[in-house]
């Protein structure tokens, strides 16, 4: 009996030692997603227009739709995606530990994040800038007048750092209050705990709608930073980053060429690049090079539409103008890399 017990315990020990060794073996994220049969996407849950859980329990928003687009490209089904709501401060650890496959949570691309945080950025899907929202009746029009004010900001964001940079550059002192939750931040602002709140302008526009009296608040006509927001993948899996990047380019490309959710399946063309894009050319096409089905881009457009449709569906209702988020052909910054 004792011998038997000894053998069992030895076996258990041996297995427990080997399992972590096996687990460290590299499995590409693409294989992981395919084997799992679903994509895990980190999103915001408190930002109407970009990522939020609507009352009927479905996920909605611009960032959320990009998650669906990636699922459509990889798995052929935009619904095979699981959304994980993340706080600003939790997003990079979640990405680093592999808890999520891709992070699409209005995340700004910066040098430090690209290097020290082990993140790889896909092309920005939304070019934003940081602004300030405050009460109209304060009658403030410039940043200098904010000296001594209490300003609310979310933790773990570039906004927190930009605020410190800007006030130092202007030589004014403000009192920052750093909230972990976006919800608490705007609630406290609404209750008058802070004089102003600073964030990406898109977020200010989005959150102004849910304040008690949206008309009492004004967004200053000042932009203190560049905030290129886009999807992020973990550093070290280049192939996966390629896939995410090209899904983004696919939405740009479709808008440039007038391919929409409605006409993608019937789009008639003799243009060889568009044929390569739609997967109606010969051979394995562009999809094969990415490790995706041949018609991946068609799946993306059929699932969520082109960039313009994504914008119109999610962001136009908030009152956000397209600004620089237009195709380069119309003087904007969206520029698809050639599908060749």
């Amino acid at each position: 009996m004792r011998k038997f017990l000894f053998r069992v315990s030895a076996l258990v020990l041996a297995i427990s030692l080997v399992i972590p060794l096996l687990a460290s073996g590299e499995e590409s994220i693409l294989d992981k997603v395919k084997n799992r049969g679903r994509l895990v996407c980190g999103v915001n849950k408190e930002l109407p227009g970009f990522g939020f859980l609507s009352q009927d329990g479905t996920w909605k928003g611009f960032d959320v739709d990009y998650g669906r687009a990636i699922a459509a490209a990889v798995l052929g089904d935009p619904d095979k995606v699981e959304f994980r709501p993340l706080k600003a401060a939790d997003r990079f650890p979640a990405l680093q530990t592999g808890e999520i496959d891709v992070l699409i949570r209005n995340t700004t691309w910066t040098l430090t994040r690209d290097t020290d945080l082990g993140a790889d950025f896909a092309p920005p899907t939304f070019y934003d800038g940081q602004g300030f929202m405050l009460r109209k009746d304060l009658g403030i029009t410039s940043l200098k007048e904010l000296a001594g004010a209490t300003i609310g900001v979310t933790s773990g964001s570039t906004t927190e750092l930009n605020l410190a940079d800007t006030t130092r550059a202007l030589g004014i002192k403000v009192e920052p209050i750093v909230f972990a939750e976006t919800e608490t931040l705007y609630q406290s602002y609404d209750q008058g705990r802070c004089d102003a709140v600073t964030s990406d302008k898109s977020q200010l526009v989005s959150r102004r709608q849910s304040l008690k009296n949206p008309d009492d608040h004004v967004i200053l006509d000042v932009t203190i930073s560049k905030e290129p927001l886009g999807p992020v993948t973990v550093h070290g899996d280049n192939k996966w980053n390629d896939i995410v990047s090209w899904v983004v380019y696919a939405t740009f490309f479709a808008e440039e060429h007038g391919i929409t959710q409605a006409n993608v399946n019937t789009f008639k063309t003799e243009n060889p690049e568009i044929k390569r894009f739609l997967g109606t050319d010969d051979g394995t096409g562009m999809g094969g090079k990415l490790g995706l089905p041949k018609d991946w881009a068609r799946q993306v457009i059929a699932a969520v539409g082109n960039y313009g449709e994504l914008f119109e569906r999610n962001l136009t209702p908030l009152g956000l103008p397209r600004g620089v988020n237009k195709p380069w052909t119309q003087g904007g910054l969206l520029y698809a890399i050639p599908f060749r």
């Binding site: 460290s24 590299e26 650890p93 680093q96 430090t112 290097t115 020290d116 004010a149 933790s155 008058g192």
Partner: protein, 395 residues
């Protein structure tokens, strides 16, 4: 010996059947297994980090933090280092913990004694207090104090003013603060003299009580003497030793004076009230553990009510109270990490920001854990020392 073991085996028992050897062997194997497992986990972590292009080190602590911290006992600027930012976090945790422990102890003591009151109303109120606050999750209570109480106070421009010097609004509680003046030095001489006199009086009275072999309060003369000297000094000093710095509305907020922010206040209220409910129970059970006969005996030898409590009950109750009280103190200090919920920049909150801005999660986490560990072990050691001291005096 031979009678006890009739089946004596000739020769030695083989080592794999010798229980004494096996016991050591199994423990050795288990230890080895644990060490191996930890080593493999550590190696895995390093591998994973290398895959992400990250390295583990503490060099980032010397870099410029770049983020601001809303409050702290020392001056801090975004151009300071991460290390200094972390220190501000530690100091904030320490201040909320120490003030919280003092408040929780006082409130807890009050309600603990009230639970034993012979008055039905007082007893019932105390019981309701304890049951209500110790059965609601702390996080919920802190958020309640923050959003439902403190944030509902009037705006800055409609502040509640108390005696013209203190102001309460949803930006905080502003109190006048004493500012030392040049004549403070003269008053300090008076204080020194008063202290000297008090010590002498204390010793004299203590000796007297010893000679009389009577229970009593040796500070009975010393305390009033000190107060009288201090008060005389206050009026005899040319000019006042302190002037009051009154808070005044300037721009967006009140400036000057002393200020408790809503974040600090709501966290302090939440922590103190929650912990005090547990402390009340600790105090009650400690007092009740002293058998009734002890009180009756004390009264029969002619001790007054206060003397019974001070000389008979408390010396026996305190050694029973202190160990669970220590646990409550440790809980309070650790629970202060819920500060994140109300944006108070404590150790964990600042550490969280640091992790996010630098990506050095593991080193920062290690620093946070070590800080809490050192704080807790120090508290524990101090309370154990106090317990030993008080038991030696009591017995």
């Amino acid at each position: 010996m031979e009678n006890n073991s009739p089946t004596t085996v000739s020769g030695k028992i083989p080592f794999w059947r010798d229980v004494r050897v096996l016991r050591v062997l199994f423990q050795g194997i288990f230890l080895l297994g644990v060490i191996l497992l930890l080593a493999i986990l550590y190696r895995n972590m390093l591998e994973g980090l290398r895959g992400l292009g990250l390295t583990l080190n503490f060099n980032f602590l010397q870099d410029e933090a770049g983020f601001d911290i809303s409050e702290g006992p020392i001056a801090y600027d975004p151009s300071d280092t991460y290390l200094k930012a972390f220190c501000v976090g530690i100091l904030n945790t320490l201040s909320i913990s120490i003030i919280g422990i003092v408040c929780a102890t006082l409130i807890g003591l009050l309600f603990g004694i009230a639970r034993l009151s012979s008055n039905w109303l007082i007893r019932t109120i105390a019981a309701a207090y304890v049951e209500c606050f110790r059965n609601i999750p702390l996080l919920l209570q802190i958020i309640f104090w923050y959003t439902a109480v403190v944030a509902q106070l009037p705006n800055v421009r409609e502040s509640i003013s108390l005696f013209g010097g203190a102001f309460i609004n949803n930006r905080g509680i502003y109190l006048p603060s004493p500012e030392p003046t040049s004549s403070l030095k003269i008053w300090l001489w008076f204080l020194g003299a008063g202290l000297l006199l008090a010590v002498i009086l204390y010793i004299v009275r203590w000796r007297q009580l010893q000679q009389l072999d009577r229970p009593g309060f040796p500070a009975k003369w010393a305390l009033p003497a000190f107060l009288i000297v201090a008060l005389c000094g206050w009026f005899l000093t040319p000019g006042r030793p302190f002037t009051l710095d009154l808070p005044a509305l300037q721009g967006f907020n009140y400036q000057g004076g002393m200020r408790f922010t809503p974040e600090f206040s709501s966290l302090l209220i939440g922590l103190s009230i929650y912990t005090s409910a547990f402390i009340a129970e600790v105090v009650r059970s400690g007092i009740q553990s002293v058998v009734k006969g002890q009180r009756e005996a004390a009264r029969s030898v002619g001790l007054k009510e206060g003397q019974t409590l001070r000389l008979v009950v408390l010396p026996q109750a305190i050694p029973i109270i202190v160990p669970p009280l220590t646990s409550q103190y440790l809980n309070l200090a650790k629970n202060s990490s819920l500060a994140t919920a109300v944006a108070f920049p404590d150790l964990f909150h600042v550490g969280d920001t640091m992790m996010n801005q630098t990506g050095q999660s593991i080193p920062v986490f290690a620093m946070i854990m070590v800080s809490y560990l050192v704080m807790s072990l120090t508290t524990s050691a101090a309370m154990n020392w106090y317990n030993r001291w008080i038991t030696r005096i009591g017995r």
